[in-house]
Amino acid sequence: MKRATLLGLAFALGLAMPVMAQDTIKIPNIIELSGGGATVGNNWKNGSQLAAEEINAAGGILGKKIRLEFVDTASDPGKARAAVQRALDEEPIAIFGPIYSGSVSATLKLTADAETAQIMGGEAANLTAQGSKYLFRTSFGQNVSMPKIANYLRDEVKAKSVAVVYVNNDFGKGGRDAIIKELKERNIAVAADLSTEAGQADFAADVIKLKGANADAIFVYLNEEESARFLREAKKQGLNRPLIGETTLLGQKVIDLAGDAADGVKGHVGLTVDAPIPAIQEFGRKFQARYNYKPDHNGVKGYIAVYMLKAAAEKAGKLQPKAIAAALHGLTITPDKTPGILIEATWDDTGEIDRISFLGEVKDGKQVITQILPKLKK
């Protein structure tokens, strides 16, 4: 009797499981939860989790609840590639991540071959130039942000010469190539061109070289932790040139780690919860209340990634990977229809994003937005 009951129970569970599975869509997040990218990955994770909970509470996507699965790449492109391949074997409707450009570069062919949208956080200029129809940015590529920085250096800082210090990975090298091209086009001399290593702890020699370069301004393009270490060393050695950055250098994590050494840093900010936009500030408050720290731009990127997927799936009218990718091309998502997108954004045929951005500076340990820059294409 007992055996018959157990068999019956197992049969009933067997029938029930696929039904439960069909009611839930699993979305793999292949992100940097440890290693050099831990800060960016954890921000993304928490932001996307918040969005998923909101969407599920409101009924899900096309009536289905979503479940985010987080896989750690350890900030390693090889591990990221293996994780994306494993995730694609289960035929998800989309892949989220990675965030480091090197890991995106190592995985974008896999998602293209699988005809599955990859909504990622990489900013290297070359990512969207490789012809994939399935790659979508959540933040500006360097091909968009660097011209804005170069204009800022020319028009606001009035720099005639700029020293560039960058991190020697795909993100850093892409940014370095893009900014040097833009500076040359504006007849701004490159006084120094310094490569640093990912994970580098001691920036004494780099700061000494920058002091010797005697440039009008210094463009700093490093990852979060290295940015903080660099700023501390710059303050220690009394480096008194304007320090200009792009989003990361003015990010909350850098400010937290660098302390008062971050004061005075200026630059372009693609996304920030300090932006004078009520929806994005409200997101910042929700995030702070839930996770007890202020999110940086990667938290916003993770949050809007889920709403991007929702809007695309609803436009496509079905939860089919290829249809979702097709729907994202040329899509404009507006906050009045999809409040979770926070700021109106448009994706072109290459997966490049266009939206407003900001100029800002760090004052008294806080990022202050000083100017809003319009979308490139109206």
């Binding site: 640093t196 004494a204 020699a205 070289k209 220690k236 050695q237 009394g238």
Partner: protein, 292 residues
Amino acid sequence: MADFLQLLISGLATGAIYALAAIGFTLLWQTSQTINFAQGEFVMLPAFFALVAMTWLGLPFAVAVVIAIVCSMLVLGLMFKVVVVQPLIKQGVLPLVISTIALSVLLKEGVKDVYSAEAQPFPTLFPDVTLSVAGVAVSLAQVGVLVVAFGTIVALQWFLGATRIGRQMQATAQNPTVARILGVPVERMILYTFLINAVLAAMASILISPIYLAKFSNGESLGLAAFVAAIVGGFNQVRGAIVGGLLIGVVDNLAAAYVSTSYRQAVPLILLVAIILFRPQGLLGRREERAV
């Protein structure tokens, strides 16, 4: 010239911290033939003991530093010897080496899971003041690091050479069998070595974490730097480890400034290869001699 001096001072400050960790390598090797590949993680962990004391228990920094040193002596000294080294050393050097590699992974992943995978700001023992001396910007923190690190090294040298326990430790290192016949409590001396190594690792951790930021993965680069320093200086001499640490710190900085920032990490390794080829016992090491 000012730039060179700046690089030298900065390199010496970092190198002095490497030296503290490198001394640990030589001490453990001399007294118990233990090559501790978790030494980098031993330098990473005490900062997190201090952070736990500050953020979870709300204690002031000075108390947290004391707690970090005491916890290090218990966990990285006593427990390491009793739980890992003592049972495994009987099986030979290789199983113990592999065990310390496993321990390094355990400590790293443990800190990541229990505390955080992200870098954490860490307070400095010294005021945040920069002085300008003859065009060279010297921070009080750098001077403090140098003074504390050298003070610790001098105190250790005095302890080993001028105290009864220190001389017993020397005897244990040179010939444990004869030392035992002469009445030296060899096991206790070995335990003291492990406790000293833990204190040195804790000091290095407290000094370097404000610069590196406290992070679970810090041990990877610190362990490598200390290991290279110990080999370059001489694995069987404490003074060799000191010279090796300082040299690696300075060479790293000078290479970044005068060779190439891209290849700065390669230069200490080239130095290591050259030392192994032309003076395998290290700069100050002696062939087949063991002394702490």
